[in-house]
Subunit: 346 residues, 2 copies
């Protein structure tokens, strides 16, 4: 009998869930409610890749070696420093008779559960990857449990485009839910030109935001976001500088934000986000670089009556909602197309 949350795949420590495990059983034989995926590409979490690239000073071969070592040791891709993983795309290879996921052999899918809990084996030594980017062409297999989530990639869209959207699809869905809980709120999205940031800006507007600002760190991102027209205002600030960030937000919105969405994968943004948010407001932290203690103690230390949410990557209907934004909001589509074109040019 296999566990719907994958307990039977945990080798050590015994009793924890797969995400907390240091070692998973990644053997290819599937249980009656499991699905096996033939891996085509890993999409490393931005915080994880940044940590690895920084640690190795941009030496791609060293980054590659460490990724292989992590997967080989853990039976999954989970950066031991950031704790984060990423997602993957591939083709359904085998479906257990009792799998509830509704997948069929041959479906091309993206996994919407983190690589940190997905049994994974690599068989090609990542030979087609140079260690220089988050997108990792790979051969091998991965296992989905009964309670995992995967999205079939739409046939009419570039799979890379779908993957880029699905990777962050929890952010716009949760942003929409929170924004809809306020009456005509002002919304600040820190890191508004990125994947999750731009989708969150689009979601905020659709969910009833009266005024939005996208905060970006560098002029070329400001130009890109401004040209897309996704935000009412675009402002430059270093999110790690609390006073500079709060000044940028309050200047753009005419006061502190009702809802602040943190989408930048660098440590140290908690205090600025809290300072940018008014009493009774909400901060949503989507960055895996968020420090729990930094947020909790920061709000206390500032006597800030703000609700702080851990950005849950799962909201029912999140994949459909994000894909709908991509299909129906030309500004979102333009930003994602430009991002893919830029990555392809690298």
């Amino acid at each position: 009998m296999t566990s719907p949350v994958g307990l039977h795949r945990v080798i050590e420590p015994v009793g924890v869930l797969p995400q907390a495990a240091t070692k998973l059983d990644n053997s290819p034989e599937i249980g009656a409610d499991e699905v096996r995926i033939k891996v085509e590409r890993l999409n490393l979490d931005a915080a994880s890749f940044r940590q690895l690239a920084t640690k190795h000073g941009g030496d791609g071969e060293a980054v590659k070696a460490e990724v292989l070592e992590i997967i080989g040791t853990r039976g999954k891709m989970q950066n031991p420093v950031t704790g984060s993983g990423g997602m993957l795309i591939g083709t359904v290879d085998a479906v257990g008779p009792h799998s509830p996921l509704g997948l069929s052999v041959g479906d091309r899918v993206a996994t919407l559960v983190s690589l940190t809990l997905t049994p994974l084996a690599i068989t090609d030594g990542l030979a087609r990857w140079d260690g220089g980017g988050e997108q990792v062409p790979a051969e091998g297999h991965a296992i989905l449990f009964a309670r995992s989530i995967a999205a079939v990639l739409p046939a009419d869209l570039d799979p890379e485009l779908s993957l880029a959207v699905l990777d962050v699809c929890g952010a716009p869905a949760l942003t929409a839910r929170v924004v809809a809980g306020y009456d005509k709120p002002s919304v600040a999205v820190i890191g508004g030109a990125g994947k999750s940031g731009s989708l969150s800006l689009a979601a905020a507007r659709r969910a009833g935001a009266a005024r939005t600002v996208g905060i970006v760190p560098v002029p070329h991102e400001a130009d890109r976001l401004g040209a897309a027209g996704l935000a009412d205002e675009v402002a430059l600030a270093d999110a790690r500088d609390p006073v500079a960030l709060a000044t940028a937000v309050t200047t753009a919105l005419g006061g502190p934000a009702d809802v602040t969405v943190v989408c930048v994968d660098v440590p140290g943004c908690e205090h600025g986000a809290i300072l940018s948010t008014g009493d009774g407001g909400t901060v949503i932290f989507f960055s895996m670089a968020t420090s729990f203690a930094g947020a909790a103690l920061g709000a206390e230390g500032l006597a800030a009556d703000v609700t702080m949410l851990v950005g849950n990557g799962y909201v029912p209907g999140h994949a459909d909602y994000a894909m709908d934004l991509l299909r129906t909001d030309p500004a979102v589509r333009a930003l994602f197309d430009a991002r893919l074109a830029a990555e392809g040019a690298n």
Copy 2:
């Protein structure tokens, strides 16, 4: 001109808030809006003390030496591993002419902002402390900013009793707010026999919980909490064992909790708390040992539609609310009296 949030006391790195600083200016001269406290006792955060005690294998002298070294180096008490601090009590020693805190020289106060952002100097080498407990008799001075919070200790209560309650007063206030947002919810408090846990149980009941369970790790805590009558049910479980915890909660409540409150200061409780909570429910993390990534990725990996809150230690009126629970709920009072008696007997 001094900053209301203490920016002028930050020595390094420049530009961050005091909580994120590695070194604060703890000089005793106060600015026009500052207050100086003559320190009487530090109350180390439970997670911080546990880490120090474990690291040094219970060697009190080594614990003491490290605390002195931290304060000497940083100008504040912030455990570099846990990131947490604690609070202090003392007597108001000097009040700047523009301080908005309403304090007078001679007031005996507890600081309700974390030690992690409070400039602090120790002058007695902690000579009266044996390094064996969280309560640290101390001489020295501390500085409050304009936007700090301090509560005057009630004259009719044992100061240690007031301090124990004020130390965790954010937990019952936030629990009450969240519980009141549901219609007759079921509430699970993980670590229900502790300070924040017992206050949260009392707050949940007062805020309209239909059914409550307190989860504790050991039988003597179950006996104590059961005798107090603060929860409808008391159950034993190791909060680090997700399946055991979820089984205990759902058995006691007849289903998953609508609101789960995590009050245990040990790492690895995120997954169990999420598994214990039903779709549409809320988890409030008060433990400084909470892993942000563990919570975010855990909920995603379990496809759990739960709202996860970073337990903000500040809610307007939190000190008064907690002291009112202590004064008016005999079960709360009995538990806190018993706790102080037990600590005194150590």
